[in-house]
């Protein structure tokens, strides 16, 4: 029998009622997915307080060591957004279990948290759940969704495909998009016409298929292929459709495609505009 660890990370002290509730909810989800005979659920509470240096370290170390796990992280740990920072650190250390923001806040607050963190929370094995007594976003339903998702993705229960994917950010996505577009202008200069540049770029496309390679998808789009849906579905595409300033991925690619019919100066001006809007946005975010 395998063990799934439910690690509750909270600045409040442990309450047995919440521990029992979490255990019951996960068991209910396992039962609904006909997996309860194979799994046992164990719950561990980590009380943390960021006011003291290194107070997260023990919890991070323990949770990261779980082979199969669900980390339920309080949003206010104790400050708002600390929970998000904690999950980022977990993913940065390679934690490949499920990560949920676990909050007693109102539905509207939970939705705001969810909307503001598309990369970290809007993927398989991640999300927000509400604490009892009357959860609008119940844990058992969320676990069920992720267990079914794991089956569809061919993953073990309580494992995500790649923890690093959760650390995608708009800057990374912007750099990949800009770099994917870069060769088209350089090839236009070398080959003296857009059709010749597109033809040369198209030669790099076979082998990059089915959305596995974001840069390949962007290049395919610039070569006239209909891959916008796959681009938007990719984590990079989602990161650039999140609530950040600067153009979203669809608008950016459309303007680039249009620019790839005019002169080279206009193309470079468009690439420069995108670069400035996306990267200065990231810089402000970092300093803030």
């Amino acid at each position: 029998m395998k063990t799934v660890w439910c690690d509750i990370v909270d600045d409040d002290p442990c309450t047995k009622e919440v521990e029992a509730f979490v255990k019951g909810q996960v068991e209910e989800a396992l039962r609904a997915c006909s997996l309860l005979v194979e799994w046992q659920v164990r719950v561990c509470w980590h009380q943390t307080n960021r006011g003291t240096p290194f107070s997260w370290d023990g919890a991070l170390e323990t949770v990261t060591s779980r082979a199969y796990g669900i980390a339920l992280v309080d949003h206010n740990l104790p400050e708002p957004e600390d929970g998000i920072a904690f999950i980022e650190q977990l993913r940065g250390r390679g934690y490949s279990g499920y990560t949920y923001i676990h909050s007693g806040s109102a539905k509207s607050v939970l939705e705001a948290i969810f909307d503001s963190n598309p990369t970290l929370l809007q993927q398989h094995g991640a999300g927000v759940v509400q604490k009892p007594p009357e959860p609008v976003y119940p844990l058992n339903k969320k676990v069920q969704v992720d267990l079914k998702g794991a089956r569809e993705l061919g993953l073990d229960p309580f494992r995500v495909a790649d923890p690093k994917v959760f650390l995608e950010n708009p800057t990374e996505a912007a750099l990949c998009t800009l770099s994917a577009a870069l060769p088209l202008g350089l090839l236009r200069e070398a080959r003296c016409s857009w059709p010749a540049a597109v033809e040369a770029l198209s030669e790099s496309l076979p082998g990059e298929r089915d959305g596995a390679d974001f840069e390949g998808l962007v290049r395919a789009y610039l070569c006239g292929k209909d891959v916008l849906v796959a681009i938007q579905a990719h984590p990079h595409g989602r990161a650039l459709n999140g609530k950040h300033r600067g153009p979203n991925i669809v608008d950016a690619l459309e303007t680039l495609r249009k620019a790839a019919t005019g002169d080279l100066k206009a193309w470079n001006a468009e690439l420069t505009r995108l670069r400035n809007e996306w990267l200065s946005d990231a810089e402000e975010g970092m300093q803030g």
Partner: protein
Amino acid sequence: MRFVCDHEAICRALGLVGVGEVYVISRLPLDEVGQWETKDVAFVAWSPLQTLVRRPENSLASVPGVTFLRLPISLAALTGSRTARNPRASAPVRADLCVPLGQFTCSLHRLLGLLPTETPGEVLARVAELRRFCASHWPGWFESALDIVRNSLQQRDPTNAGELVKVLLEFSGQVATYEAFRAFLHGAGKDIVNAGPGPVNAALSYYLSGGLEYQDVLETLEGDRWWSAFAEEFAKIEQGLQGIGLSGFDPDMVLGKRVDTARQSLAGFAECAERLLRAPRGRKVTGRLRPRLEEAQRCLEVLMNTIQAIAREREKLRQRVHQRVEHAATAVR
């Protein structure tokens, strides 16, 4: 011209156009860079230089003699960058700026230099980048210390922030050395106790004390031929330690001869295990096989003890780092 990019996607883009030798900063050929001249190197990025060099991994971009090219750029300017350079400013490329430890210490030294004079916004941006860099290379060691540095800077206290930065400089080499072994330590992918070596060691012990059949040992070995993956991982560790050496810190000062011991014992075990698996099956254990099994167990125990000793020392170092940071943090408060 050699083009060094801050992002792999730029490498792939320039590779498609075929402009020449293109490298990403995180994967430079370390055995060659020492022979490069800065006049032959162009650093290519989308970000402006001022933003770029806040990131420790891009320290090379601000070295005098290295040409900086900001994208987008025309093909003519890219390929003509060789003629635009200033050969008089050229010097051999500093290999330490091509490895994480050297990049980290260089950035810490630069931060120390900037603390008294630079604007708070610039210094805080550099601290944020240092924190991200540490979380990526040595997670759990320095992030909290850098949070305290940030807090003290926000309270306009650069002197005490400087003291904390000096603590990080003091420990960075040791931390990098011990962290090189992270893949073998508890909770990691090739955990020396819980992954392959532990179960085999247990099987050998039970067999040699009469508690298991020879066939059980063979099945355990066949079930997980972990030693090949371990040897590959160990080669990566040694490569990492060589990189640490390039940054001016000698890992042997911390590890002594442990790396040699671990490598030899791993190779010794692998040889024994392969021989045992090649031997004809169903054969009764002869007097010739028993010493081989004993040798396999001896090698395995040496390997596990060596890595476990490193793990223990790593934990002691963690306590020392925490104590020093706590001490400095108290002074900050």
